[in-house]
Protein backbone atom coordinates (compact mmCIF):
# COMPACT_ATOMS: atom_id res chain seq x y z
CA UNK A 1 0.00 0.00 0.00
CA UNK A 2 2.82 2.36 0.80
CA UNK A 3 3.94 2.62 -2.83
CA UNK A 4 0.44 3.07 -4.29
CA UNK A 5 0.25 6.80 -3.65
CA UNK A 6 3.59 7.80 -5.24
CA UNK A 7 2.86 5.50 -8.21
CA UNK A 8 -0.53 7.14 -8.81
CA UNK A 9 1.05 10.58 -8.54
CA UNK A 10 3.76 9.59 -11.01
CA UNK A 11 1.15 8.48 -13.56
CA UNK A 12 -0.69 11.79 -13.12
CA UNK A 13 2.56 13.70 -13.67
CA UNK A 14 3.29 11.67 -16.80
CA UNK A 15 -0.22 12.39 -18.08
CA UNK A 16 0.52 16.12 -17.69
CA UNK A 17 3.72 15.71 -19.69
CA UNK A 18 1.69 13.91 -22.36
CA UNK A 19 -0.68 16.88 -22.54
CA UNK A 20 2.29 19.21 -22.97
CA UNK A 21 3.66 17.07 -25.78
CA UNK A 22 0.25 16.84 -27.45
CA UNK A 23 -0.05 20.60 -27.18
CA UNK A 24 3.28 20.98 -28.99
CA UNK A 25 2.02 18.64 -31.72
CA UNK A 26 -1.24 20.59 -31.94
CA UNK A 27 0.04 24.16 -31.63
CA UNK A 28 3.65 24.07 -32.88
CA UNK A 29 2.83 26.78 -35.43
CA UNK A 30 1.76 29.17 -32.66
CA UNK A 31 4.31 31.39 -30.90
CA UNK A 32 4.82 28.74 -28.21
CA UNK A 33 7.74 28.72 -25.84
CA UNK A 34 8.67 26.61 -22.84
CA UNK A 35 7.37 29.29 -20.43
CA UNK A 36 3.91 29.14 -22.03
CA UNK A 37 3.92 25.35 -22.05
CA UNK A 38 4.93 25.26 -18.39
CA UNK A 39 2.19 27.74 -17.41
CA UNK A 40 -0.39 25.51 -19.12
CA UNK A 41 0.82 22.54 -17.09
CA UNK A 42 1.12 24.46 -13.80
CA UNK A 43 4.87 23.85 -13.55
CA UNK A 44 7.97 25.99 -13.64
CA UNK A 45 9.82 26.03 -16.95
CA UNK A 46 12.86 24.37 -15.40
CA UNK A 47 10.83 21.59 -13.83
CA UNK A 48 8.94 20.95 -17.06
CA UNK A 49 12.16 20.79 -19.09
CA UNK A 50 13.79 18.33 -16.70
CA UNK A 51 10.77 16.04 -16.35
CA UNK A 52 9.94 16.13 -20.06
CA UNK A 53 13.49 15.17 -20.95
CA UNK A 54 13.45 12.31 -18.45
CA UNK A 55 10.18 11.02 -19.91
CA UNK A 56 10.76 11.56 -23.64
CA UNK A 57 14.54 11.72 -24.03
CA UNK A 58 14.66 15.33 -25.23
CA UNK A 59 13.67 18.71 -23.87
CA UNK A 60 10.31 20.29 -24.74
CA UNK A 61 12.16 23.03 -26.65
CA UNK A 62 13.98 20.40 -28.71
CA UNK A 63 10.73 18.51 -29.35
CA UNK A 64 8.98 21.73 -30.40
CA UNK A 65 11.78 22.72 -32.77
CA UNK A 66 11.98 19.21 -34.24
CA UNK A 67 8.25 19.30 -34.88
CA UNK A 68 8.61 22.68 -36.59
CA UNK A 69 11.54 21.57 -38.73
CA UNK A 70 9.69 18.38 -39.69
CA UNK A 71 6.78 20.47 -40.92
CA UNK A 72 9.13 22.98 -42.55
CA UNK A 73 10.78 20.17 -44.53
CA UNK A 74 7.35 19.12 -45.79
CA UNK A 75 6.43 22.68 -46.76
CA UNK A 76 9.79 23.29 -48.47
CA UNK A 77 9.37 20.10 -50.50
CA UNK A 78 6.23 21.59 -51.99
CA UNK A 79 8.42 24.19 -53.62
CA UNK A 80 5.90 27.07 -53.68
CA UNK A 81 6.97 28.82 -50.44
CA UNK A 82 10.15 30.73 -49.67
CA UNK A 83 12.39 29.81 -46.74
CA UNK A 84 11.25 32.93 -44.85
CA UNK A 85 7.58 32.13 -45.45
CA UNK A 86 8.10 28.57 -44.21
CA UNK A 87 10.03 29.77 -41.15
CA UNK A 88 7.11 31.91 -40.00
CA UNK A 89 4.48 29.37 -41.10
CA UNK A 90 5.86 26.78 -38.67
CA UNK A 91 5.94 29.21 -35.75
CA UNK A 92 9.60 30.28 -35.69
CA UNK A 93 10.11 33.98 -34.98
CA UNK A 94 13.82 34.00 -35.79
CA UNK A 95 15.17 33.04 -39.20
CA UNK A 96 18.61 32.53 -37.67
CA UNK A 97 17.43 30.02 -35.05
CA UNK A 98 15.30 28.31 -37.67
CA UNK A 99 18.19 27.96 -40.12
CA UNK A 100 20.60 26.70 -37.47
CA UNK A 101 18.22 24.05 -36.16
CA UNK A 102 17.13 23.12 -39.67
CA UNK A 103 20.73 22.58 -40.76
CA UNK A 104 21.41 20.43 -37.68
CA UNK A 105 18.45 18.17 -38.39
CA UNK A 106 18.33 18.09 -42.17
CA UNK A 107 22.07 18.16 -42.75
CA UNK A 108 21.88 21.20 -45.03
CA UNK A 109 20.55 24.76 -44.91
CA UNK A 110 16.85 25.24 -45.71
CA UNK A 111 17.54 26.97 -49.03
CA UNK A 112 19.69 24.10 -50.26
CA UNK A 113 17.11 21.60 -49.01
CA UNK A 114 14.36 23.43 -50.85
CA UNK A 115 16.12 23.29 -54.20
CA UNK A 116 17.29 19.68 -53.81
CA UNK A 117 14.28 18.07 -52.14
CA UNK A 118 11.74 19.01 -54.78
CA UNK A 119 13.06 16.10 -56.87
CA UNK A 120 14.11 13.75 -54.06
CA UNK A 121 10.85 11.97 -53.24
CA UNK A 122 9.37 12.02 -56.74
CA UNK A 123 8.08 8.55 -57.59
CA UNK A 124 8.56 7.23 -54.06
CA UNK A 125 5.62 5.49 -52.35
CA UNK A 126 4.15 7.74 -49.61
CA UNK A 127 4.90 5.31 -46.78
CA UNK A 128 8.56 5.16 -47.79
CA UNK A 129 8.73 8.92 -48.27
CA UNK A 130 7.37 9.38 -44.75
CA UNK A 131 10.11 7.27 -43.23
CA UNK A 132 13.08 8.57 -45.18
CA UNK A 133 12.14 12.23 -44.91
CA UNK A 134 11.53 12.19 -41.16
CA UNK A 135 14.23 14.14 -39.35
CA UNK A 136 16.44 12.24 -36.94
CA UNK A 137 15.93 13.66 -33.45
CA UNK A 138 19.06 12.62 -31.66
CA UNK A 139 21.30 12.32 -34.69
CA UNK A 140 21.86 8.68 -33.89
CA UNK A 141 21.49 7.49 -37.47
CA UNK A 142 24.51 5.72 -38.88
CA UNK A 143 25.83 6.20 -42.35
CA UNK A 144 24.82 3.05 -44.28
CA UNK A 145 27.63 0.54 -44.63
CA UNK A 146 29.74 2.08 -41.90
CA UNK A 147 28.30 0.46 -38.76
Amino acid sequence: MSSAQPAAQRLRDLAWLRRVRDRIDREYAQPLDVEALARGAHMSAGHLSREFKLAYGESPYSYLMTRRIERAMALLRRGDLSVTEVCFAVGCASLGTFSTRFTELAGMPPGTYRSQAARATAGMPPCVAKQVTRPVRNREARVPGRS
Binding site: A7, R10, L11, R12, L14, A15, L17, R18, R19, R21, D22, D25, R26, A55, Y56, M73, A74, R77, R78, T121, P126, C127, A129, K130, T133
Partner: protein, 136 residues
Amino acid sequence: MDITIHASFLPHDDPEASLAFYRDILGFEVRGDVGRGTMRWITVGPAGQPGTSILLAPPATDPGVTDDERRTIAEMMAKGTYGWILLAAKDLDGTFERLQAGGAEVVQEPVEQPYGIRDCAFRDPAGNLIRIQELR
Protein backbone atom coordinates in the same frame (compact mmCIF):
# COMPACT_ATOMS: atom_id res chain seq x y z
CA MET B 1 -9.93 -15.51 -47.89
CA ASP B 2 -12.03 -16.60 -44.94
CA ILE B 3 -10.16 -14.66 -42.25
CA THR B 4 -11.55 -11.34 -41.06
CA ILE B 5 -10.04 -8.78 -38.72
CA HIS B 6 -12.49 -9.48 -35.93
CA ALA B 7 -11.24 -7.40 -33.01
CA SER B 8 -8.20 -5.50 -31.94
CA PHE B 9 -7.53 -4.33 -28.42
CA LEU B 10 -6.82 -0.99 -26.77
CA PRO B 11 -5.94 -0.73 -23.09
CA HIS B 12 -7.92 1.32 -20.59
CA ASP B 13 -7.12 2.42 -17.07
CA ASP B 14 -10.59 3.80 -16.31
CA PRO B 15 -13.30 1.72 -18.00
CA GLU B 16 -16.09 4.27 -17.47
CA ALA B 17 -14.02 7.08 -19.00
CA SER B 18 -13.04 4.95 -21.99
CA LEU B 19 -16.61 3.72 -22.44
CA ALA B 20 -17.87 7.31 -22.43
CA PHE B 21 -15.27 8.28 -25.04
CA TYR B 22 -15.94 5.43 -27.49
CA ARG B 23 -19.71 5.36 -27.02
CA ASP B 24 -20.67 9.00 -26.47
CA ILE B 25 -17.95 10.97 -28.28
CA LEU B 26 -16.85 8.61 -31.06
CA GLY B 27 -20.40 7.22 -31.40
CA PHE B 28 -19.56 3.51 -31.41
CA GLU B 29 -22.11 0.90 -30.32
CA VAL B 30 -21.38 -1.24 -27.27
CA ARG B 31 -21.38 -4.95 -28.17
CA GLY B 32 -20.22 -6.50 -24.95
CA ASP B 33 -19.28 -5.55 -21.41
CA VAL B 34 -17.98 -8.15 -19.00
CA GLY B 35 -16.07 -8.04 -15.74
CA ARG B 36 -16.25 -5.45 -13.00
CA GLY B 37 -14.23 -2.69 -11.39
CA THR B 38 -11.10 -1.93 -13.38
CA MET B 39 -11.17 -5.48 -14.77
CA ARG B 40 -13.71 -4.85 -17.54
CA TRP B 41 -13.62 -6.02 -21.13
CA ILE B 42 -15.80 -3.74 -23.25
CA THR B 43 -16.40 -4.49 -26.92
CA VAL B 44 -17.25 -1.48 -29.11
CA GLY B 45 -17.48 -0.86 -32.82
CA PRO B 46 -19.09 1.26 -35.53
CA ALA B 47 -22.78 0.66 -36.21
CA GLY B 48 -23.38 -1.21 -39.45
CA GLN B 49 -20.01 -2.97 -39.30
CA PRO B 50 -20.60 -5.85 -36.86
CA GLY B 51 -17.60 -7.79 -38.17
CA THR B 52 -14.95 -5.47 -36.72
CA SER B 53 -14.65 -4.50 -33.07
CA ILE B 54 -12.31 -2.85 -30.64
CA LEU B 55 -11.94 -4.57 -27.30
CA LEU B 56 -11.25 -2.10 -24.51
CA ALA B 57 -9.32 -4.16 -22.00
CA PRO B 58 -7.31 -3.74 -18.84
CA PRO B 59 -3.60 -3.80 -19.71
CA ALA B 60 -1.05 -6.41 -18.69
CA THR B 61 -3.46 -9.00 -17.28
CA ASP B 62 -1.38 -11.93 -18.47
CA PRO B 63 0.02 -13.49 -15.28
CA GLY B 64 3.38 -13.75 -17.05
CA VAL B 65 3.75 -9.97 -17.00
CA THR B 66 6.12 -8.93 -14.21
CA ASP B 67 5.49 -6.04 -11.83
CA ASP B 68 8.24 -4.04 -13.52
CA GLU B 69 6.69 -4.61 -16.93
CA ARG B 70 3.24 -3.71 -15.60
CA ARG B 71 4.63 -0.45 -14.18
CA THR B 72 6.34 0.32 -17.49
CA ILE B 73 3.13 -0.26 -19.44
CA ALA B 74 1.15 1.98 -17.06
CA GLU B 75 3.77 4.72 -17.45
CA MET B 76 3.86 4.39 -21.23
CA MET B 77 0.06 4.67 -21.33
CA ALA B 78 0.19 7.78 -19.14
CA LYS B 79 2.85 9.44 -21.27
CA GLY B 80 1.02 8.47 -24.46
CA THR B 81 3.52 6.13 -26.09
CA TYR B 82 1.75 2.77 -25.74
CA GLY B 83 -1.50 2.15 -27.63
CA TRP B 84 -2.67 3.62 -30.91
CA ILE B 85 -5.12 2.85 -33.65
CA LEU B 86 -5.81 4.10 -37.16
CA LEU B 87 -9.43 4.79 -38.07
CA ALA B 88 -10.76 6.25 -41.29
CA ALA B 89 -13.72 8.40 -42.32
CA LYS B 90 -14.95 9.83 -45.61
CA ASP B 91 -15.93 13.12 -43.98
CA LEU B 92 -12.77 13.87 -42.01
CA ASP B 93 -13.64 17.50 -41.28
CA GLY B 94 -17.16 16.65 -40.08
CA THR B 95 -15.78 13.87 -37.89
CA PHE B 96 -13.12 16.17 -36.47
CA GLU B 97 -15.68 18.88 -35.67
CA ARG B 98 -17.97 16.38 -34.00
CA LEU B 99 -15.25 14.87 -31.81
CA GLN B 100 -13.80 18.25 -30.87
CA ALA B 101 -17.26 19.55 -29.98
CA GLY B 102 -17.75 16.42 -27.85
CA GLY B 103 -14.74 17.35 -25.77
CA ALA B 104 -12.11 14.94 -27.16
CA GLU B 105 -8.47 15.94 -26.62
CA VAL B 106 -7.15 17.13 -29.99
CA VAL B 107 -3.59 16.14 -30.87
CA GLN B 108 -3.61 17.24 -34.49
CA GLU B 109 -6.09 19.17 -36.58
CA PRO B 110 -6.82 17.82 -40.07
CA VAL B 111 -3.72 18.33 -42.18
CA GLU B 112 -2.50 17.28 -45.59
CA GLN B 113 0.55 15.11 -44.93
CA PRO B 114 3.49 15.20 -47.33
CA TYR B 115 3.30 11.42 -47.67
CA GLY B 116 0.01 11.60 -49.47
CA ILE B 117 -2.76 11.34 -46.89
CA ARG B 118 -4.90 13.74 -44.90
CA ASP B 119 -5.49 12.96 -41.24
CA CYS B 120 -6.16 14.25 -37.74
CA ALA B 121 -5.49 12.80 -34.30
CA PHE B 122 -7.08 12.62 -30.86
CA ARG B 123 -6.10 11.20 -27.48
CA ASP B 124 -8.47 8.81 -25.70
CA PRO B 125 -8.85 8.98 -21.89
CA ALA B 126 -6.32 6.15 -21.38
CA GLY B 127 -3.64 7.94 -23.42
CA ASN B 128 -4.08 5.94 -26.64
CA LEU B 129 -3.54 7.88 -29.86
CA ILE B 130 -6.57 7.80 -32.14
CA ARG B 131 -5.48 8.75 -35.64
CA ILE B 132 -8.23 9.25 -38.23
CA GLN B 133 -7.42 9.21 -41.91
CA GLU B 134 -9.54 10.65 -44.69
CA LEU B 135 -10.97 8.02 -47.04
CA ARG B 136 -10.77 9.23 -50.62
